[in-house]
Amino acid sequence: MPLGTLDRNPPPFFRQGTPALTKLLFCAALAIFLMVADARFKLANPARAVLALALQPLQRALLAPVDAWERAGDYLRGTERAMAAEDLARRQLVQQAERLSRAEQLQQENQRLRALLDLRPALQVPSIAAEVLYEAADPYSRRVVIDRGSRQGVAAGAPVINDAGVLGQVTRVYMFSSEVTLLSDKDAAIPVLNTRSQQRGAAFGGLDGGGMELRFMAANADLREGDLLTTSGLDGVYPAGLPVARIAVVERRGDSSFARVSLRPVAQLDDVRHVLVLGPVQELEKVRAEAHAASAAAAASAPARGGKHSGAKP
């Protein structure tokens, strides 16, 4: 029946088309196939990317009313709040300037010490600034969508941070946007280092109320409430030394040989606007290895050239 015409025929008695049950069985089988392909084999990503690209303009257009609503709220709350925010930002800027100068000094000192000890130089991580567009509406996970995608150089697996600390990791990359899985997601895991006791552990998301949990810590481990946990850099994903969370509650029970440690993420995971996407550390290592090889080759060829010159001179 062509679209745009009215259905003026009486409903047919016998020719009802494909029975709904047949259609349901077919669609259900297809849906289950897609789910397995998506969850187990990651085969559905191209299809997802195509659909996401098709829906993209509509999504951006729909952000406008939500943004306008928020902006209207800001406007109504008046200039007082804006001035307070600016004041806070300025204070933070001053603090950071002081910290920055100290950090530069420390970095130079660190470089000298590393050179003395013949250690590898610490990583310099390239980064992409991005804005959080919206929270993904799926209530079974904790994800946000950012406005930078594969065209801007975001890669799957890249760590995402903000000024406070680690937020999570890029898990799906589309052309002009990406999905970031937050640390509070049930599937998120991050290796951490207790800065006070230098004890390593693994933190997992999925606690109620957006918290995290430090698992597999012995009941007598040296843990105190308020300890800062930073990334340990062991996983090859997150660079070392980024703040992750603080210990909120340590519960030592008699019936278990492990302590239950709940953590409070340092960054406000659900309420962020501006984030920084870092390059994945593995690629950095590759780049650095290449640079190292190139410099070694240059160093190797330099004496050879020198030798040639010296050989040509006499």
């Binding site: 029946m1 679209l3 745009g4 015409t5 009215l6 259905d7 003026r8 009486p10 409903p11 009802q16 088309g17 709904a20 049950l21 259609k23 349901l24 669609c27 259900a28 297809l30 849906a31 289950i32 196939f33 897609l34 789910m35 392909a37 998506d38 969850a39 559905a44 299809a47 997802r48 659909l51 996401a52 829906l55 509509l58 999504q59 729909l62 952000l63 009313p65 939500v66 567009l133 919206y134 929270e135 993904a136 509406a137 799926d138 209530p139 079974y140 996970s141 904790r142 994800r143 969508v145 799906r172 999905e179 997601d185 049930k186 599937d187 999925g206």
Partner: protein, 172 residues
């Protein structure tokens, strides 16, 4: 056609209006208000409505396609909403001959189990794959959807209630 006594004879539904209402519902679902488990799924409601009123035009296939779009937009497991909507649509088509003999509240009471079933399928699929428990406020979603049923019926049937020959006194 056999009709309940006292019902108004409706104009035929325009396919353009059906498509428009489905797209508008998809757009309403796509408005990025964040992660609200209790948010009623307007697209599911409109799909069920057209499945009940026009089962020959909007069937299980369209429900599946719209489900896939919602999956991509929500960043959910691909096929989760597609499966839920397909089952929802099948239930609605199985119900459609009986449902229109009831009043609006009676209809709402009868579509409520459909919505509950659709959400239950979503939950079962996601918890099996390893998702998080979204919180008890999720129970509100099917209830709100069923409560919106009279409103949806009133709105979506409005174009068909117009008189067949509009004149100066009855512009609509």
């Amino acid at each position: 056609m056999i009709m309940p006594r006292g019902h108004q004879l409706l104009l035929p539904a325009k396919p353009f209006f059906i498509a428009l209402s489905l797209l508008l519902a998809l757009i309403v679902d796509m408005v990025p208000v964040g992660r609200q488990p209790w948010m009623p799924d307007v697209l599911a409601l409109v799909l069920v409505f057209w499945n009940v009123h026009q089962p020959r035009r909007v069937g299980v296939g369209w429900a599946f396609v719209f489900g896939l779009l919602v999956d991509v937009q929500h960043g959910a497991l691909l096929g989760q909403h597609a499966l839920a909507y397909s089952v929802l649509s099948f239930g609605a088509i199985a119900l459609h001959r009986r449902l229109l003999w009831f009043g609006l509240l009676g209809q709402a009471a009868q579509v409520l189990p459909l919505f509950v079933l659709a959400h239950a399928i979503s939950i079962a699929v996601r918890l099996m794959v390893g998702g998080m428990w979204p919180g008890w406020s999720l129970l509100l979603a099917p209830l709100l959807e069923a409560l919106l049923w009279p409103l949806a019926s009133w709105l979506l049937l409005a174009p068909q209630r117009r008189p067949p020959d509009p004149d100066a006194h009855r512009p609509l």
